[in-house]
């Protein structure tokens, strides 16, 4: 029902942000969805609720503490509750009357829409998008039933977000890959990355992508490398445990300079950990994964907009520098839905350039796949598309790509590969700065804590204007240092806020810049930090 509800909300011109909390099992267990909406853009979830829709007894109890005093608790009249915020309705029996007990969700949807006085815009279209044809009629009935069951209660201010799109972080990532020119995707199922595989499969024909479920993660990445070598922009996706198995081939991409995008959708580790929950604890891992040394780039996705643009850009960077580019997302972003500005396709057009440029013919004379060049970038041809032999070798190799043991060639090749970073560093994107010109406390964060932290800055500054600011990293490795140093020199206090136990961003920053954070707000229980938690830590020193 969340999918249908969020669509109605969006179509009514509201901004929506939906997160899911589910257990690592197929049925049963306590699972719930949080929908936050309003007339202003919503960047994250909130712990404080205006309303609860409870479909079982547990939900009545488990969350009521977080329900606002004047909130509502919608539930079926079969459940007994003392809570005076409850709206008990005979939803189940009405659903049964309609002919399918499961339409209770649609009845509740109707109720909510009415409570907030929203219109049933595009009723049929919306249902058709999310509900199978055969269940359409009964769900339509159910929504109308719910809608007529209650009176309007809240009035929302005017709002204008009808032309937004709504999608999940993983859908945005996958769509970004399509915009980045992907032609090949291989993966082994693993939460929370599997929905990328599903989405790209569903678009394989429309977007001309070969999507292959591999026998294991090692196969997945080696396939992506093989496809990329043969000219198909390629990505492989997984979560931390699967990333482990890709580590060796990551080095192959680095050594043979084969463009590659690897998406790691983080979840709490170590090992199997908490498979359906969220964490940001793979940063240092992916930065130094694989033996030996080679240039790579790591981009952390901060939100649903990044997920699209930065994934597309990852393909560009991978191809331009002939390196592996790692995309770090996490379960929170991957599985949450947000309504945002439609993507601007003009902004990703430059990516086509790099794909076409690749096929240029080398200068006269011998083709040197690994030519020692000033910027470290060597001519990349596609095998079979030229009267030159294209080579790749996981051993150290000569300019032609043949195995060598020469100390001189080794030095030249190492230096050549690392020279690529000079140019790359020039086009790094600085972290996003949230705040006014002047501030005292600087928060440092990365990835999906973007939403909670930036909302927290705004919220805290409402009470104490000009006191808080944040730098939120997207490009994270190599670390962009310019803005960081500038803002740090201004800060009275620096606090890193991270969804891990060791403060990995803070460690990385210290390693590169000697900047030391004064305090850390770390969370690693598998649940995303909320704006409320940040605010109450700052105001009251209460750690979540």
């Amino acid at each position: 029902m969340a999918a249908v509800l969020q669509k109605f909300l969006k179509d009514s011109g509201l901004y929506v942000f939906t997160t899911r909390d589910f257990m690592s099992r197929v049925r049963g267990g306590h699972n719930f969805t949080l929908i936050r909406f309003g007339p202003e853009p919503v960047l994250s979830h909130s712990d404080i609720m205006d309303g609860i829709i409870a479909f079982d007894e547990d939900s009545l109890v488990l969350h009521s503490e977080k329900l606002k005093k004047d909130g509502f608790l919608l539930c079926d009249s079969q459940y007994k509750t003392e809570d005076d915020r409850a709206i008990s309705l005979d939803m189940l029996s009405l659903a049964k009357q309609i002919g399918n007990a499961r339409t209770i969700g649609s009845i509740a949807t109707g109720v909510i829409l009415k409570l907030f006085n929203l219109q049933l815009l595009n009723l049929e279209d919306t249902l058709r998008k999310h509900i199978k044809e055969q269940y359409l009629e009964e769900n339509k009935k159910a929504i109308l039933t719910g809608y007529n069951l209650v009176e309007n209660r809240y009035t929302l201010p005017a709002h204008e977000a009808k032309s937004q799109i709504i999608l999940s972080g993983n859908q945005a990532l996958a769509f970004g890959a399509i915009a980045g020119g992907i032609r090949f995707y291989s993966a082994y199922p693993m939460s929370p990355s599997t929905t990328i595989l599903e989405y790209l499969s569903s678009k394989s024909v429309d977007a001309n992508i070969v999507v292959e479920q591999a026998e294991d993660e090692i196969a997945a990445i080696n396939m992506a490398i093989g496809a990329s070598f043969a000219g198909a922009p390629a990505m492989t996706g997984t979560s931390g445990g699967g990333f482990c198995l890709k580590v060796e081939a990551l080095g192959l991409s680095g050594m043979a300079e084969i463009p590659l995008v690897v998406a790691n959708i983080q979840r709490p580790g170590p090992a199997t950990g908490l498979p359906t929950r969220t964490e940001q604890s793979d940063l240092k891992f992916v930065i130094s994964a694989s033996q030996g040394e080679f240039p790579r780039m790591v981009i952390a996705l901060r939100n649903h907009s990044d997920a699209f643009y930065q994934t597309a850009r990852a393909f560009y960077m991978a191809k331009k520098y002939q390196i592996p580019v790692i995309i770090l997302s996490d379960q929170y972003l991957a599985d949450s839905y947000a309504s945002i500005e439609p993507y601007d396709m003009e902004k990703v057009k430059y990516i086509q350039d790099i794909h076409s440029k690749v096929e240029y013919n080398p200068l006269d004379g011998e083709y040197l796949r690994y030519k020692i060049t000033e910027d470290g970038i060597s001519p990349l041809l596609i095998p079979g598309k030229t009267k030159n032999f294209v080579t790749a070798d996981s051993d150290e190799h000569t300019e032609r790509g043949w195995i060598t043991e020469s100390a001189d060639v080794r030095n030249q090749m190492m230096d050549k590969r690392f020279r690529k970073l000079i140019k790359l560093k020039e086009e790094l994107q600085e972290p996003e700065y949230i705040g006014e010109d002047s501030f005292e406390t600087l928060f440092l964060g990365w990835g999906s804590t973007y939403g909670p932290i930036s909302e927290a800055v705004k919220c805290l500054n409402q009470e104490s204007p000009g006191t808080y600011a944040a730098l939120l990293f997207g490009d994270i490795y190599p670390l962009p240092e310019k803005l960081l140093k500038e803002k740090v020199s201004q800060a009275k206090q620096i606090i890193n806020i991270e969804q891990n136990a060791t403060g990995q961003l803070a460690e990385l920053i210290r390693e590169k810049t000697s900047i030391v954070c004064d305090d850390s707000l770390l969370k690693y229980d598998g649940r995303q930090i909320s704006v409320d938690e940040i605010v109450s830590y700052i105001r009251k020193g209460v750690r979540p």
Partner: protein, 281 residues
């Protein structure tokens, strides 16, 4: 000089790999292949050095991981003739999982396993096909594992082209190689290959005495009898195409590829992004 010739090799004098290399060059020439459309793929090992000694495109990846790279290259560009040459350790040991599953995937590539029943490059440890009891510096009390029968395994996994040959029978090898390359789907040849430096059991003489070509009336389309033949590996070792079955390959079944246009050449519709984004409104 052959179209496919290149520089000096780093193999030991007397190694069976030389014959395999020669045979492969011959096979490619006889099939009239254009070297620029051939992609040689390998893992790591002595056998896996072969792509370095043949003029063609080459991809020398990781130990054990040649098949995933090879099949994906073929998916990206079906115009490439993709040939994998690599060792028994590489194919059946480190790469065992890719072996069984790429048989199921049935991409149109060719896989030549230089089966010297030993790990050559790492100086002589038991490989998956080493004989039980073989003594090495690691298997000091003799190899305790029973050897894998790769051709039986391939048939059991549903491979459509399964053959065995011997580096010492070049004519035979060339002929089977040509059939394998022309087969539409995954084709494998387990090639018996003496390793003069480390395998003192399975020598040239050992193989030479034992191998015999499959009878002219051998029926390679019967899976059960093929499995029976495949189990013959002792005093007599049959060589030839043990099993062959024609069936749809990966490309024919894939909705994006079945039209026959190489993936990298398919034109994407300029409106593709605009069409897709509609889903999200």
């Amino acid at each position: 000089m052959s179209n496919f010739s290149t520089h000096e090799t780093a193999w030991c004098p007397g190694c069976g790999n030389f014959q395999i290399l020669d045979s492969l060059k011959k096979a490619l020439e006889e099939l009239g292949k254009d070297p620029y459309e051939v992609l040689m793929v390998a893992g790591i090992g002595q056998a896996a050095k072969l792509p370095q000694y043949i003029s063609a495109n080459s991809f020398c990846g990781l130990h054990g991981r040649s098949l995933p790279a090879a099949v994906a290259a073929k998916m990206a560009n079906e115009k490439l003739t993709v040939i994998v040459n690599t060792g028994d350790g590489d194919s059946y040991g480190e790469g065992g999982n890719h072996f069984i599953h790429n048989i199921r995937r049935n991409v149109n590539i060719t896989h030549f396993i230089h089966d010297n029943q030993i790990y050559g490059l790492t100086k002589g440890q038991a490989s998956p096909t080493s004989m039980e009891g073989m003594v090495t510096d690691v298997q000091v009390n003799g190899n305790a594992n029973s050897p894998l029968n790769p051709v039986l395994l391939a048939i059991a996994c549903g491979a459509g082209f399964v053959a065995r040959s011997f580096s010492g029978r070049k004519e035979h090898l060339i002929s089977v190689m040509k059939q394998a390359i022309e087969y539409k789907g995954y084709a494998m040849i387990d090639i018996l290959q003496p390793c003069v430096s480390f395998n003192k059991l399975n020598t040239f003489a050992y193989y030479n005495q034992r191998v015999y070509e499959l009878e002219a009336d051998y029926d390679s389309s019967n899976k059960l009898s093929a499995m029976e033949k495949a189990m013959e590996f002792g005093d007599k070792i049959p060589i030839g195409v043990l099993y062959r079955e024609d069936k749809a390959d990966f490309h024919q079944k894939n909705p994006v590829l079945k039209a026959g246009v190489p993936l990298i050449d398919i034109d994407k519709s300029p409106d593709m992004l605009k069409n897709i984004i509609k889903d999200f409104y």
